[in-house]
Symmetry: C2
Subunit: 464 residues, 2 copies
């Protein structure tokens, strides 16, 4: 059992600084924990309260008549050392220190003192200066962020607080399911390397997404990321990837964002997938969390009802290293039967704007079932002739009919209001669907890049 197990699967959680006042962090976290449905024991700690949100309150952690796995700390910075002392004496295993006011504002000494106390007692620290953490398999939402996080396969580690909470909200809006959200803030103790090591074996996590400003130990991260990548993809949004950005980052967390070129080299060596922005990172994460990986390095079939969309996606695929091969001959023959005579059936397969919903889905089904096709990119432009929500329904039905997705499929639905409804429909059915051809292409290409990277690392490490 990993030493991190009690953080993710605690039997009991104490909240030091629990509050009766709605809006206060010490209230919101406790409320989230209760309402999101954590079924372990919850102990609010507040010397001035007898009961908060229906739970008996304790004056300090050591007064709790039970072992405490995780202590959530929301008291002012200067009191944190004594809370750690007390928690240490009580045998707590983890301190999740929400409190800000440490290294990020120059209070290095105080942060070091807290870490020293933790080390003395064998307590591991998440934070400080964080918004908490989430682990959906155990219905833990120990954050003051939005409550109804959607369970799923994305593990999200974030060094930024405000942005992290905002993106947490975005995952709900965009229906991106998460296994865990880990706000790591100042990384005074636990840092990315250890967390990804644990997540590599976490059965709920399919992909790891890191918002990264600075690494504590770059070499250690590279080594660990290489190992983890053999099991699961790691997507990184590196903030401070330009000199000026790096400067802005260091004034933000107090951490050195470090040499830009060095970081790029290290991350590349680590085998992580570097996303160029937040949107792309989550687009990729969604695809990884929902789709099987392709079985070869590039036999993508691109299906479209609009030639232009096909060209744009072909460009994007190529820019990400996926080059379309000719459509298999027998597939061309089959497609010929169901498409207008002028349809161009090379790859991209342009079914033409005249194809109806049934024809489109028939072609898609044939592509998904063809043995030489390892992945499908399906683009749909809303023209007057077809009904997007109906097409979405047919796609969902077809996928069920063929026994679910055995190979990756990303979809783009391009258009207006009806298209946005159809995207919602496909998203709820677990099919990664995007509003532009380029985003769907980028997401599918990320899967192919991952299997290439994995092979490169295997070769480098001498693994067969």
């Amino acid at each position: 059992m990993s030493y991190l197990e009690p953080l993710f699967k605690p039997k009991s959680i104490a909240i030091v600084g629990a509050s009766r006042t709605p809006g206060k962090i010490g209230y919101e976290i406790l409320k989230n924990l209760i309402e999101y449905g954590y079924s372990g024991k919850l102990y609010p700690v507040n010397p001035k309260a007898k009961e908060i949100l229906g739970l008996k309150c304790y004056p300090k952690v050591s007064a709790i008549p039970d072992k405490v796995d995780v202590v959530i700390v929301v008291v002012p910075a200067k009191i944190v050392p004594e809370v750690l002392e007390d928690s240490g004496k009580a045998g707590a295993k983890f301190a999740v220190i929400i409190t800000a006011g440490f290294k990020e504002v120059g209070n290095v000494e105080l942060e070091n003192r807290v870490v020293k106390i933790a080390r003395k007692y064998g307590i591991r620290i998440l934070g400080p200066n964080i918004f908490g953490y989430v682990y959906t398999p155990l219905r833990i939402n120990a954050t003051f962020g939005p409550k109804d996080v959607i369970p799923g396969g994305v593990a999200f580690i974030t060094q930024s607080g405000a942005l992290g909470i905002a993106l947490m909200g975005m995952t709900i809006l965009e229906r991106i399911g998460v296994s865990t959200i880990l706000s790591v803030g100042n990384k005074a103790d636990l840092e990315d390397s250890e967390l990804i090591e644990y997540l590599a074996t976490d059965p709920s996590t399919k992909v790891i997404l890191i918002y990264l400003e600075a690494l504590v130990d770059g070499r250690r991260f590279v080594e660990m990321a290489q190992k983890v990548t053999l099991y699961k993809p790691i997507i990184v949004i590196k903030a401070g990837r330009t000199e000026v950005g790096a400067k802005a980052a260091s004034s933000h967390t107090g951490a050195l964002a470090g040499d830009v070129a060095l970081y790029k080299a290290a991350l590349t060596q680590a085998g992580v997938l570097i996303a160029s922005n937040v949107e792309e990172a989550f687009d990729w994460a969604r695809a990884f969390s929902l789709l099987p990986l392709p079985e070869d390095k590039g036999n993508v079939l691109l299906i479209t009802n609009g030639g232009g969309a096909g060209v744009l996606a072909t460009d994007t695929l190529a820019e990400y290293g996926v080059y379309l091969k000719p459509t298999p001959k027998d597939l061309v023959e089959e497609l010929r039967k169901i498409t207008p005579p002028f349809a161009a059936l090379g790859n991209p397969v342009d079914l033409s704007g005249q194809i109806d919903e049934v024809g489109y889905v028939e072609a898609l089904g044939k592509a998904l079932q063809h043995p030489e096709v390892s992945g499908v990119l399906a683009l749909y432009c809303h023209t007057g002739f077809t009904d997007p929500p109906y097409l979405a329904s047919l796609i969902i039905k077809k996928i069920k009919e063929i026994g679910g997705l055995k190979k990756p499929l990303t979809v783009a639905f391009i258009g207006g209001e009806e298209v946005s409804l159809a995207i919602r429909r496909l998203t709820l059915a677990g099919i990664p669907t995007y509003p532009t051809p380029e985003r769907a292409a980028s997401a599918l290409a990320a899967l192919y890049r991952y299997i290439r990277v994995k092979e490169e690392i295997k070769a480098k490490l001498g693994i067969k």
Copy 2:
């Protein structure tokens, strides 16, 4: 008066191939024209009908007892030559040929024949193989796409049909206002150079967005685009920007998408802003259509309530050539009064996650009014402490209070459901608002790039 004036401002439009059957192109276009509110004369042409949608029907164009400026042609390809002959005899000025089945399917001879007839009579052709055109100032929607296009400053020229209609729908969903939409298809006659020349002086057009696969005359386009760019920005999405993409494009329209490197060089020389994807192109177009241009080359102030978002946007700005300068000293002093003591007020100005709505907007107002700040990028991460729709309302109020935007402002609101409502609110108020920091940064940077490009072209052409 430009020779293109009667296309954009026709006194009368005939629809040859008008139909009584809903769902048919000849019905949908007539219906769109009527319902979108074109106030000129409309003449359905169909030898088998007496009346369509309440309008008297004519057997042919030459039977219409009136001069016809524009003839919309939706009859089968083989009949198009005789329609052109008849229209020519009747003195029509423009033929908008919706009909497909020409060069794009190898029917070069037929297309040439049609062009020859048109030349004989001095008719100019838009198309063939298009979905029609829109000109919102005259309430012309002569397409079979969605009807309720939103009037605004974006002129959209598209070589792709299905994708073009889909993007037309997207402009409605995303509330992007357009002046005109021109489906150019095979560009048998009228092509980009002439259209942008007209749009340069069209008072409703603030920015031109072109989906481009291939140019008919590259040199002519470069020369014209350079001239037009001095008046208005031109954004280009080039499909076929990779070798494989170019190949896919040529199988799509039958046009040669041409040498990839040559195209890139030509477009750069032309001074157009090359977008890397559909989303970016429309993000930029929205900003150009709504905002004043900055008055210098780079004094952007970045305001954020989340450090991480600030770093990501700083990176994006730098990648697009905008480097943040230190916050003016007097502005730092003013901001100091309204922010928590630990807020970092360099540029980015990190107001901290603790800032409330009022403080945020006060800071924004000060930035917008400071004489040394030429543009503002405002980022907002939804944390538990603030209410996004309320913040949106305060921003709108503040901008009214200071007499509207005198300098460019792009905004990012990052978060979940409440944020999406706030984005909608800001969008309806005409403030370009995006869901990620990078998209807002990219849009603002495009404005600065444009004024740099314009100066470069002026220098090249020897204009002061």
